[in-house]
Symmetry: C2
Subunit: 387 residues, 2 copies
Amino acid sequence: MTLNYFDHNATTRVDDAVIEAMLPFFQQEYGNASSRHALGTAARRAIDKAREQVAAAVGVQPVQVIFTSGGSEANNLFIRGAADSMRSGHLFISAIEHPCVLKPVQALTHRTGEHWTAHLMAVNQSGQIDVNRAQEEMRTQEPGLVSVMLANNETGVIQDVAAIAAIARERNDDTYVHTDAVQGLGKIPVDFSALNVHAMTLSAHKIYGPKGAAALVVDKRLLLKPLIYGGGHENGMRSGTENVPAIVGFGKASELAVARRVENAQHVTQLRDRLERGLVEMGAVIFGAAVERIPNTTYFALPDVEGDTLVVKLDKAGFAVASGAACSSVNPGQSHVLDAMQVDPILARCAVRVSFGSSNTIAQVEVFLAATKEIVDTLRNISSLTF
Amino acid sequence: MTLNYFDHNATTRVDDAVIEAMLPFFQQEYGNASSRHALGTAARRAIDKAREQVAAAVGVQPVQVIFTSGGSEANNLFIRGAADSMRSGHLFISAIEHPCVLKPVQALTHRTGEHWTAHLMAVNQSGQIDVNRAQEEMRTQEPGLVSVMLANNETGVIQDVAAIAAIARERNDDTYVHTDAVQGLGKIPVDFSALNVHAMTLSAHKIYGPKGAAALVVDKRLLLKPLIYGGGHENGMRSGTENVPAIVGFGKASELAVARRVENAQHVTQLRDRLERGLVEMGAVIFGAAVERIPNTTYFALPDVEGDTLVVKLDKAGFAVASGAACSSVNPGQSHVLDAMQVDPILARCAVRVSFGSSNTIAQVEVFLAATKEIVDTLRNISSLTF
């Protein structure tokens, strides 16, 4: 069966040009970048080039890029590393952050001897962080650390990171603002300075690069303690033998993500618009439809059709989609994002996410809509017979 | 120029069978292992298989394997994760541990609100941890955490981990003993139970596997806090999208490491014996020569020939070797291992490490000896002319 992969917010297929760039580093240029011989220096040069590529993608200098093994590590590095470098205080994150921001914040506030207080910034029913309310809260509680994702992985809703950063900075000169931008890169413009942040997380495997490489991009004045100590790699901020092939792939993928962004965005917007027209005709609710979203993502619910069931049936029909957030196994069947949006829990159980990528076609969308209609009709018939 | 790679303790070339196992997971089976569709479950199954392979290599159950992005992360996970799960107390590590054990210990003892005291266990002039002395020290200071590497990355000297573990366990029922076994696997037998430890670090890229995958193998009763929080991967002990290709490669490499160990060990022993005969004839000192070492490693010094200079000249002649530890950029030109062995600092500056691998040949060793002799003769002539 042809697989129709509609789950690009979970992970992506490695691009041909990316794997081609990576391959020499497994068996030919396989040196340790810390070695001083020719194989080592070749690896070091490859990392330097990748660092330039990643830096260029978000408009920073190469020295601002700290390579990590993944987005989760980068988010943890910011939360814990920045918290350990400053006086404890108030930490503001949105209620819809990824678990790899929510959980380290929770761990931090539970740590003995620490006095961090976490504030979950509320979102409106469209899934946007309520900037005015955040401003109110920051008026009474001075923000120490702030972390706000650029685009939500479930809804695709884009957040006004720059506005929140401006409020936090105005309130406290010494605040640090971070954004998890893994769902933004390659889909919308991502500029470090324009977002007004001190730190930003990027990840390779969301942009047709390999799993195993990501970055925390930092303001040069940001004080940070490492999560992983050792040989002093990445300017002492992240020790461990560099994953050269993955880093090389990340560099190439970043370059391509920027070069192809406009074209890809146009392409997936077309697919999404067709998809959403079809879904609405079937009676679907589209979460966040009224606000600005990354162009590849549709998060919908067909009332009375359980999301998990639909995902399984669509899988059998050859379509890979997600119910809730694919990368969280903490609360299966329950989306903290929809909770925060005050979506009726019964409707929330029907949530399914489609996230398109560059290789998807309008023909796939048509077949998907037909398949979904058939599944939904069958399920609704069964339930009308049963009850 | 043919490259003669003699730096296998720094990193290894990915084996053909390993890259073959990995390749499908970049572009065909590229799913996120947390996704519930067919591509996701295929990735999950691949990880399960790799977990079985790694577990089997050291005689444990799959559930005891926590995959990490590298050995440094695994060592940090043990040090910080175990320390955060127990009452603070005395931490015993050897003076010759890798920086990715030494530095997190240092960070721990410097943390505010913590009361960990670090004890560096001394080594003798052969580079072996002095077990009797360790026992003495543990008599007065009850060991909370213990970390002792199985084989030293510079000298290759094998440590009596089991004896130290027995002493620590006898002294304190609640102690946790860890061994960094990354330089042992594939070279000597590595059995989790026989070593009597609670945790063990393994790494793929030291055993012809890829960079980007490693493991902390744990006793099921070990209490640990994660270093990276998030979606709850690896039983909550290490969140983040799994690096499927690298983990698959690690599994395959572990299987091969065990299957080929005896044959490889015999092969590299032959090479090493020939090398050391030749070097001794040139007046070299071989560090740790009198004690049990992993079979692939020769750490030597040719008096009056600076290590760094020799490494550069050998590189130009087509030989990749290391001076000091390749993966430490903290103190270039100075080996904390030779310091601990009380090697004369002037001789220590002459240290060069050769670490053989399965693809090296006796012919390469002969050419290496000839090239070294030529370089050394030239350097000594220059210095006798100058002074």
